[in-house]
Amino acid sequence: MGQTIIEKIFSRHTGKTVYANDLVVSKIDFCLGQDGTSGIVIDSFNKMGAEKVFDHKKMAVIIDHSSPSPNEGVSRIHKKIRDFSLGQKIHFYDVGQGVCHQIVPERGYVVPGDLVVGADSHTCTYGALNAAATGMGSTDVAACAATGHNWFKIPESIKFICQGKLPLGVYSKDLILYLIGQVGAAGATYMSCEYAGPAIDALSVEARFTIANMAIEMGAKFGIMNCDRKTLDWVKQHSSRKFKPVAADSDAVYNKVLEFNVSQLAPQIAKPHRVDNVCSVTEAAGIPIAQGYIGTCTNGRLEDFSAACKILKGKKIKKGVRLIVAPASNWILKDAMKKGYISILLDAGATLVTPGCGPCVGTHNGVPADGENVISTANRNFKGRMGNINAFIYLGSPATVAASVITGKITDPRKYLK
């Protein structure tokens, strides 16, 4: 019987042929935590009676969610995490280095065929590199850190075949928002999403991260892609580890195969307070906005700033509107400076904040006021997500955010790109 990508990765890791719904205890290749979850990872690790991380080269802790610390409560947690990480000699990224889901692939810790567990739900991002990566809770990651293993129920897979070619002004963010709108917030619960087809193949690796990142917004355990020339080039540029890519068999068994043609797709918007509350930008156009945000593990990469700068170059943000910008890592910040993107953004009136999660998780860096609408490139628009339950969050691509902060209302970016 043919196997999906996920079934093959687990077969390789366990040394036996396994299929969906099998339960396995598997070794893992890497685990990670961030500042919102690692405090409990450490508590559980200690309670398990563990003394040393199973392999200090195979764990990273990144301070990204509230970084630098906005208050003494967060500072206490940061200190606890810092002391543990330095003591264990694991990879440690302190404030200002970037978002965990940029750091882990960018610093070469993940390669095709890997099995990675992170104490952050967006760990599925690395599926763009043909790796099985999934988010779990802190105690599960503590078990990984202590033993180098965890248990998994091998998920069934849904295959998303994306035919056609994304039109001008329509990006991978629009594509994934569209898919989430189609299947719903629980549409892929416990599944592995395999994304394939010419529209995926045409995307850069950076753009693919955006799609893999949001698999969890459909409830999925993994969001994974094939390994092609672009993946190989990207991984070899970032990692010296040896690896073997994984492809699904032609007779692999899927729970569902969904096919879409994206050639006519318009820019998409997720309206408050659900990620699957998706419509075309033309339907949401004109809704006033008070703040824009470009950044996060979804859309804080160089290509995202390039797309925003194409629209913002030589223009000004509307008076009374804020634009917050957070590069996904300090490496991206440096590259964006070299390319002139940061100057373009600052000249337009943007506010640059520390590489990391920025205002996405509602602890600092741009909490909206009551009644304000925000347009953001993040992955979640839940009520209260940005720190105020009386604000409204709309999600879109970096280009849509850029166009919207110029006019002060949700705006179709295509009118600036003709």
Binding site: H65, G73, T139, A185, G362, G384
Partner: protein, 169 residues
């Protein structure tokens, strides 16, 4: 194990996310689970903590606990002395987290449970009894792996006891 208490429902039934269960405003700075618990469900239902009573059940629809991986979500529910969450289905990270820390989750049809109904949950027979409506609801049986983790007292105790994973594969 027999649990008894009142049903607590919310204006939204499906897709109650972890940001609603415990907001990032609190979970990033508060380590004491008892203090976190005072903010449980606050963004969806301000005043919920004051209204609920020890032993109550949270009752919801589909995909309870979707969103982030924060273990503080089931922790805040557990420390608010909620005896179990009863829902039509659960998001997967939340599901693992809850069993890992010893918060029971009950999967069953919740359409016939109303706010304030008196419930008893028998985890050994797999029956929810709605005493107010005078009816029994069958619970979807737990997978063996969850039973093992529950029997050991959660994931920390499982690892401690077996010096690693000891699960039937």
């Amino acid at each position: 194990m027999l649990l008894t208490g009142k049903a607590r429902k919310f204006s939204q039934e499906d897709d109650i996310n972890t940001d609603y269960i415990i907001s990032g405003r609190y979970k990033f700075k508060i380590q004491d689970p008892n203090e976190l618990a005072t903010h449980v469900m606050e963004d969806l239902d301000p005043g919920f903590f004051q209204r609920r009573q020890d032993g109550d059940f949270i009752v919801a629809g589909r995909n309870f606990g979707c969103g982030s991986s924060r273990e503080q979500a089931p922790q805040a529910i557990k420390y608010a002395k909620i005896s179990a969450v009863i829902a039509k289905s659960f998001a997967r990270i939340f599901y693992r987290n809850a069993f890992n820390i010893g918060l029971p989750l009950v999967e069953c049809d919740t359409d016939k449970i109303k706010e304030g109904d008196e419930l008893s949950v028998d985890l050994s027979t797999g029956i929810v009894t709605n005493k107010t409506q005078n009816l029994n609801i069958t619970i979807k049986p737990l997978p063996p792996v969850m039973l093992t983790l529950l029997a050991d007292g959660g994931l920390v105790e499982h690892i401690k006891k077996h010096h690693g994973f000891a699960l039937k594969q």
